[in-house]
C-alpha cells in the first residue's frame, strides 16, 4: 500500500475529529471527494508517475481509499445530522404549562339558543316561522283576540302605548291574526318575538320573548294539543317528561289551559325548582276561540285550531338555572361566556 494513501487516510481520520456540523462534514468531504478535484481524485492523476507493474495495485488502493472515505464520512454525516436534529429540538424546548393561545369562539344568546331548539322541534312538525312586528295596533293585539276595550283581561297585561291606536305588542298572539288574514288553512305557524309589559323585577322584564304556536285546520281538537305538547316536552326536556293540563283563561282560547310538565330536575318527586310540587308551569294554551277565527274570516264551522304561548326567558332561566331575568339583557361577557349550549 502506498504510504501516501495511508497518510491521506490518517489525515481524514484526524481531520474528521475536528468536524462539528453537517455543513463542515460536507465541506470536508468535498475537499477529498469532489470528483477529480478532490485530494483523492488528484491521486489518480499520480498514476502516470507510478511504475506500470504497480499501477494496478495503486489503482485498487486509491479506489479502496475512496470507498472507505465515502463510507466513513457518510456515516459521520448521518451521525452529525442526527445530533443536529436533536439539538434543534432541544433548542425549541417549551413550557407546555404556559397558557394556550386561544382562537375564541363566541356563542349565541341563551334566548336565541332556546328559540332555535324550539324552532327545530316545531319545524319538524310542519310549523313555519312567522315574525310579526313589535309595534302593533290595539286591534291586532287586543280587539281581534277577543279582548275588547273594557275586557278585564286587559288588566292582566300592563301595556305600553305609543299612541291611542299603536302600542308595543304584549303577546306574540297578535301575529296570529295577520297570518290568518293572509293565509287560508291549513295553518301551522310559530311566532317568536319580543313582547312588552310594564313590569320590572327579578322575574319580570319590561321586554321579554314569547313564542306563539297556532294550528288551524279541519277537525283540530284539545286532544291534538295534548299530543303535540307531549312530543314537544319530550324533545325539549327529555323522554320521560309528562304533561298535565289544568283549566285557565285566555280571551283568545276556549277552553284555555295552563300546561305543566313533570319537573325535569327531580322527575316529579318534588324539589326546590318545582317548589315541591313535582310540576313546572311551562306554557299557556287552548282551543282557538271561535270569535278569533271569525275576526280573521275563518269559518269556525269548517275549521278549528289550537294555540299555545311559551315564555322563552322562563324556559332559559329554568334550563340554565339563571335566577335573575336582568342578567339576560345586561350583555355581561362573564354571563354570556358561560352559556355555550
Amino acid at each position: 500500500m502506498n504510504a501516501n494513501l495511508e497518510q491521506i487516510k490518517q489525515e481524514i481520520i484526524a481531520g474528521a475529529e475536528e468536524l462539528n456540523s453537517s455543513k463542515e462534514v460536507y465541506e470536508f468531504k468535498k475537499k477529498y471527494l469532489d470528483g477529480k478535484a478532490g485530494k483523492i481524485g488528484l491521486l489518480m492523476k499520480e498514476m502516470k508517475n507510478i511504475p506500470p507493474e504497480q499501477r494496478a495495485d495503486y489503482g485498487k488502493g486509491v479506489n479502496a481509499l475512496k470507498e472507505w472515505a465515502l463510507t466513513y464520512l457518510g456515516e459521520m454525516d448521518v451521525k452529525m445530522k442526527a445530533k443536529e436534529l436533536q439539538n434543534r429540538y432541544e433548542s425549541e424546548k417549551i413550557d407546555i404549562s404556559l397558557p394556550a393561545v386561544e382562537s375564541e369562539e363566541g356563542n349565541l344568546h341563551p334566548i336565541t339558543l332556546i328559540r332555535n331548539q324550539l324552532i327545530d322541534v316545531f319545524a319538524g312538525m310542519g310549523f313555519e316561522i312567522f315574525e310579526g312586528t313589535e309595534i302593533e295596533t290595539d286591534y291586532y293585539n287586543f280587539t281581534a283576540l277577543n279582548t275588547p276595550q273594557d275586557h278585564p283581561a286587559r288588566d292582566m297585561q300592563d301595556t305600553f302605548y305609543l299612541s291611542p291606536e299603536f302600542l308595543l305588542r304584549t303577546q306574540t298572539s297578535a301575529g296570529q291574526i295577520h297570518v290568518m288574514e293572509s293565509k287560508k288553512p291549513p295553518i301551522k305557524i310559530l311566532s317568536p318575538g319580543k313582547v312588552f309589559r310594564s313590569d320590572d323585577d327579578a322575574t319580570h322584564s319590561p321586554m321579554f320573548t314569547q313564542m306563539e304556536g297556532l294550528v288551524v285546520d279541519k277537525g283540530i281538537t284539545l286532544c291534538d294539543l295534548q299530543g303535540m305538547l307531549d312530543v314537544f316536552v319530550k324533545k325539549i326536556y327529555g323522554e320521560g317528561t309528562k304533561t298535565r293540563l289544568r283549566p285557565s283563561y285566555f280571551p283568545f282560547t276556549e277552553p284555555s289551559v295552563e300546561v305543566d310538565c313533570s319537573c325535569f330536575e327531580c322527575g316529579g318527586s318534588g324539589c326546590k325548582l318545582c317548589k315541591g310540587t313535582g310540576w313546572i308551569e311551562i306554557l299557556g294554551a287552548g282551543v282557538v276561540n271561535n270569535k278569533v277565527l271569525e275576526n280573521c274570516g275563518v269559518d269556525p264551522n269548517e275549521y278549528s285550531g289550537f294555540a299555545f304561548g311559551i315564555g322563552i326567558e322562563r324556559t332559559a332561566m329554568l334550563k340554565y338555572g339563571i335566577n335573575n331575568i336582568k342578567l339576560l339583557f345586561e350583555s355581561d361577557l362573564r354571563v354570556l361566556k358561560q352559556l355555550n349550549d
Binding site: L108, I111, E134, I135, L162, L190, V215, L222
Partner: protein, 806 residues
C-alpha cells in the same frame, strides 16, 4: 281571593281536608296560591286553670299552679294584671310556639318557643298567654284585645287545645280567580264552585226582610249616563242605631283583613266579601234635594272623599250626587259630606253596577284605589247587585240596627237577573274536546253547576244563571264540561285529520342565523338589548338636533325616562353594554346584536313605522383596531357572499379619521369605526372600542345568493411582488384601483408590507403588493407579464408619481 274555610262552610258542607279541597279547586280551574292555618305559628297551647296564685313580693309577678289536665299541673310565673286563681287562660306548655312581643306587649316580633325559665328565683314551666301572643285580635275573639291574659270561657275543658276555642284551627285559602270568572270574586261565588265540584247542596244566604211603612216621599233616582251605570238601586233604612257589629261578623271581617268600624259600614264590607258586590251607605240626613243623580263629573268639579282628600275631576269620572252636590265618587269612594257617623239615624243603601273600565280609569287617573274600585274593575253582575241589596237589608234586621223602609228605587237598562236559555250541540262540545263525554256525565256536571240542563237529541238546553255572563257558546260549555270531567280524560292525538305542511325557517331567518353563527366564529357573543332607550343615549351619540335618529317614537307610559324612546340606532345600547362590561372589569371582548330600529313615517303614529332589522357589532380591548373590525366586516361579506367597499366618512360619535362607510352593490348599508375619544371618556372606557352598524333590511335583498362555479383557469397564473414608493397620503385603495384599471388580467392584489423610515425619503412610504395575473385564452409568456407590470408602473407614476422601490 282570601277565603276562610269556616266562612265557606256556611254555604257548603265540606267533609274533606283543606288540602283535598285545594286539589279539587286546582283541578277545576281555581289555583290556591296559598293555603295556611290561621294559627299556623301556634302550637302546644292548652286550656289552663289557675289553681293557686300568689304574689311574688316586691314584683308585679305572680307564681301560679296551673292545672293543664292530661298534661299535668305546672308552676308558671305570670306578670299579667288579670291573672287570678280559678280563672282559665291559654297555657303555653314547655316546647310550645307563640308570638314574641316587644316591651309594649302589642308589637309582634316573631315566633318563640317556650322553655323552662326562672323568674326571681321561681321556676316557671310554661307561659300564660295574651291574645297578641296567640295572634288573636279583639275582633277575632272578644276580650282578646286586652293587654293582659286572654280569658277563656268557664266551660273550656282543662287541658284541651285552645286553637278550636279561639278559631285558630280555621284555614285560609288564597285563591287565584281568572278574569273570565268575576262571579267568583266572593266567598259565596267560591262556595258555588265548591258545591259543584263536591256535588253538595249550596245553602243560599238569607235575603229575607220585612219592609216597614216608612217612605221617602217624592224621592227620585236619575241615571244620566246609563252606559257607565247600567243598574243603580237605592233603598231607605230608618231608625238606625249605629253601634258595634256582632262578634261573628267582626271575626269574619278580621279573617279577610278588614277592620270592623260600625254595624252599617261593616254590613257593606261584609257583603263586598260575601257576595262580591260593593255597596255604599249614605247618611240620609246629609243628602239634599230628596234625589240621587248619577252623572259624569263636570270638568274641574271637586269632591272631598271620606279619607279627607280633595280631588279635581273631569268628565271621564262619574259621580253620585244628591239634588245639589256630589256625594260620592262612583264605585271608588264615598264623599266625606255624606259618610256614616255615630249619630246617623237614616241610611240610603246603594247597590249598583258601574262600567268596569270607567272605574279602572278613574281609579288610575286619580291614584285612588279602594276595595270597592278593585272589585268593580273586575266586573260585577246584576244578579249580585240585586241579591246584595236584599242581603244588606236582611242584615240590618238581623243585627237590629235599623228598620227597612219601603222606598226602593231600581234604575236599570233592562237586563234580566233571571237565567237565560242557551242551546248547544253536544256533538260540537265533544268535537272541540276530541273525546266523547258520556251524556249522563255532561248532564250531571251542568246540573252541579246550576245550569238545569236538558238534552233533546244532539241539543243540550241550558238555563244559564245570570251571574255566568261568560257563558255564550259551545266552546264555553266544553270548558265547563272538561274542567269538571277532568283533563286527564284527554287522549293525546297527533292531528290525524290535518293536512301535511312543510315547516322551517324562511330565507331571511336562515340568513340571519347564518350571520349570527359567522359572528360567533370570530369570537363575538350575541347580546339582546331592550327595544327602547333613553333620550340621554341620543345625546351620548352627540347627534345633531335634526338627525334622523332623533325622530323617535315615544312611549306614552314608559317605566322611566331611560326606557322611553323606541330605538332608532343600536349603537347606543352597544356602547352602554361595552361601558357596563368595562366597569365590571371585562376590558376586552366582542359583542353583537341583531335587533329592530323603529323609524316613524310621521309622529304621532298613524301607520306602522318602518321597523327594520339592524346588525350592530361592538369590539373593545387593546388587541382591537380599525382593521380587526374591518376583518369582521369582510367576514360578514363573505358569509352573505357579498362584496363590500369602503370609503371615508365621519359621524358625531366616531373617530374622524378612523371611520368607514360600508357600501354594497352601490348602496350605503352601514358604517364602522373607532369610538370617538370624548364619547369613550364620558363612558369611562379604559380600552379602545369600535362600533359597526349595518342595515339588514337593505342587505336582505341579496340574501340567499347562490354560489356560481367558475371553471378553474386553464393556464397557470403568474405572480409578481411590487414594492412601490409614494407620497404618504396616497391610499392602498387608490393604488389598487389604478392597478386594476391598468390590466384586465389582474385577479387579486394583496398588500403585504408597509414601510416608512431611513431607507426611503422622509416624506414617502413604501407599500409592497403581491399581484396575481390570471390568463384567459392562452398562457402568458414571461415577457407579457413583465409588459403588464411596466404598464401598471407607468400608470401609477402618471397618476400618483409612484416609483418602483430600488
Amino acid at each position: 281571593m282570601i277565603t276562610p274555610l269556616s266562612w265557606l262552610k256556611e254555604y257548603v258542607d265540606i267533609d274533606i281536608t283543606p288540602q283535598e279541597l285545594q286539589d279539587k279547586l286546582f283541578s277545576c280551574g281555581f289555583e290556591v296560591e296559598e293555603l295556611y292555618e290561621v294559627g299556623k305559628d301556634i302550637s302546644k297551647v292548652v286550656v289552663g286553670k289557675v289553681l293557686t296564685c300568689e304574689a311574688i313580693p316586691d314584683t308585679h309577678l305572680h307564681v301560679c299552679q296551673v292545672d293543664c289536665g292530661e298534661h299535668g299541673t305546672f308552676q308558671i310565673c305570670c306578670g299579667a294584671d288579670n291573672v287570678a286563681a280559678g280563672g282559665k287562660f291559654p297555657a303555653a306548655l314547655v316546647g310550645a310556639t307563640v308570638y314574641a312581643t316587644a316591651k309594649d306587649h302589642k308589637t309582634v316580633e316573631g315566633v318563640m318557643t317556650i322553655g323552662k325559665g326562672k323568674l326571681r328565683g321561681y321556676e316557671s314551666h310554661g307561659m300564660l298567654c295574651s291574645g297578641v301572643e296567640l295572634g288573636v285580635s279583639e275582633n277575632m275573639y272578644p276580650g282578646a284585645g286586652y293587654n293582659g291574659l286572654l280569658v277563656l270561657p268557664e266551660d273550656a275543658p282543662v287541658g284541651a287545645d285552645v286553637k278550636p276555642i279561639l278559631g285558630l284551627d280555621d284555614w285560609i285559602f288564597d285563591i287565584a280567580i281568572t278574569a273570565n270568572r268575576p262571579d267568583c270574586q266572593s266567598i259565596f261565588g267560591i262556595a258555588r264552585e265548591v258545591a259543584a265540584v263536591l256535588e253538595k247542596e249550596l245553602k243560599m244566604p238569607d235575603v229575607s226582610y220585612t219592609e216597614t211603612e216608612n217612605k221617602l216621599a217624592g224621592f227620585k233616582v236619575a241615571v244620566d249616563c246609563p252606559d257607565l251605570c247600567p243598574r243603580y238601586s237605592a233603598h231607605y233604612v230608618t231608625d238606625v242605631t249605629i253601634g258595634e257589629s256582632p262578634a261573628w261578623m267582626k271575626r269574619r271581617l278580621a279573617l279577610v283583613g278588614i277592620d270592623a268600624i260600625s254595624n252599617v259600614v261593616d254590613i257593606t264590607n261584609y257583603i263586598l266579601k260575601e257576595l262580591g258586590q260593593p255597596m255604599h251607605a249614605f247618611d240620609l240626613t246629609t243628602l239634599e234635594g230628596n234625589a240621587i243623580q248619577v252623572r259624569r263629573a263636570a270638568d274641574g268639579e271637586k269632591i272631598t272623599t271620606l279619607d279627607g282628600q280633595e280631588l279635581t275631576l273631569t268628565d271621564a269620572n262619574m259621580v253620585i250626587c244628591d239634588g245639589v252636590k256630589p256625594v260620592a265618587l262612583a264605585g271608588v269612594m264615598g264623599g266625606l259630606n255624606s259618610e256614616i257617623r255615630d249619630t246617623t239615624s237614616a241610611v240610603l243603601f246603594e247597590s249598583a253596577k258601574f262600567a268596569r273600565d270607567n272605574i279602572r280609569r278613574t281609579s288610575r287617573a286619580l291614584g285612588k284605589r279602594s276595595d270597592s274600585s278593585a272589585r268593580y274593575e273586575k266586573g260585577v253582575d246584576e244578579y249580585a247587585t240585586v241579591m246584595a241589596m236584599k242581603r244588606a237589608l236582611h242584615l240590618i234586621e238581623e243585627l237590629g240596627c235599623g228598620k227597612v223602609g219601603r222606598t226602593h228605587v231600581d234604575v236599570n237598562t233592562g237586563n234580566s237577573v233571571e237565567p237565560r236559555e242557551l242551546t248547544v250541540s253536544v256533538k260540537k262540545v265533544n268535537d272541540c274536546l276530541g273525546i266523547v263525554v258520556p251524556n249522563e256525565e255532561i248532564l250531571k256536571i251542568m246540573t252541579n253547576l246550576a245550569f238545569e240542563p236538558k238534552m233533546d237529541g244532539d241539543s243540550l238546553i241550558l238555563q244559564v244563571p245570570a251571574y255566568r255572563e261568560d257563558m255564550e257558546t259551545y266552546q264555553d260549555v266544553a270548558e265547563e264540561v272538561i274542567r269538571m270531567y277532568g283533563y286527564d280524560h284527554v287522549v293525546p292525538a297527533f292531528m290525524p285529520s290535518a293536512q301535511v305542511t312543510i315547516g322551517g325557517l324562511n330565507l331571511q331567518q336562515k340568513s340571519e342565523l347564518k350571520l349570527k353563527k359567522a359572528l360567533c366564529s370570530v369570537g363575538a357573543y350575541e347580546c339582546i338589548h331592550y327595544s327602547f332607550f333613553s333620550p340621554a343615549d341620543l345625546d351620548m351619540l352627540k347627534l345633531p338636533q335634526d338627525a334622523v335618529e332623533r325622530k323617535t317614537i315615544r312611549l306614552m307610559n314608559p317605566i322611566s325616562d331611560e326606557l322611553s324612546l323606541m330605538r332608532t340606532t343600536l349603537a347606543a345600547s352597544m356602547i352602554n353594554a361595552i361601558a357596563r362590561n368595562q366597569k365590571r372589569g371585562n376590558l376586552e371582548g366582542r359583542l353583537f346584536e341583531i335587533g329592530n330600529v323603529f323609524m316613524p313615517y310621521e309622529l304621532p303614529l298613524t301607520q306602522y313605522p318602518d321597523e327594520k332589522p339592524r346588525l350592530c357589532v361592538g369590539i373593545f380591548g387593546k388587541k382591537e383596531s380599525f382593521y380587526t373590525m374591518k376583518g369582521i366586516a369582510e367576514k360578514i361579506a363573505d358569509t352573505l357572499q357579498l362584496e363590500f367597499t369602503y370609503e371615508n366618512m365621519s359621524n358625531t360619535f366616531l373617530h374622524p379619521y378612523q371611520t368607514a362607510r360600508i357600501l354594497c352593490n352601490g348602496a350605503e348599508i352601514g358604517y364602522f369605526g373607532k369610538l370617538a375619544y370624548d364619547v369613550a371618556d364620558e363612558q369611562d372606557l379604559r380600552t379602545p372600542a369600535f362600533i359597526l352598524e349595518m342595515d339588514l333590511k337593505v342587505v336582505s335583498q341579496w340574501y340567499g345568493k347562490k354560489p356560481v362555479f367558475k371553471p378553474l383557469p386553464k393556464f397557470p397564473e403568474e405572480q409578481r411582488d411590487l414594492a412601490l414608493v409614494m407620497s404618504k397620503e396616497i391610499t392602498c385603495g387608490e393604488i389598487e384601483a389604478v392597478m386594476k384599471e391598468s390590466c384586465k388580467y389582474i385577479t387579486n392584489i394583496s398588500l403585504f408590507d408597509i414601510y416608512e423610515g431611513e431607507q426611503i425619503a422622509a416624506d414617502k412610504k413604501s407599500m409592497a403588493f403581491t399581484v396575481v395575473f390570471t390568463p384567459k385564452d392562452e398562457a402568458f409568456g414571461a415577457e407579457s407579464v413583465d409588459g403588464f407590470v411596466k404598464k401598471i408602473l407607468k400608470q401609477l407614476n402618471k397618476k400618483y408619481g409612484v416609483e418602483l422601490r430600488s
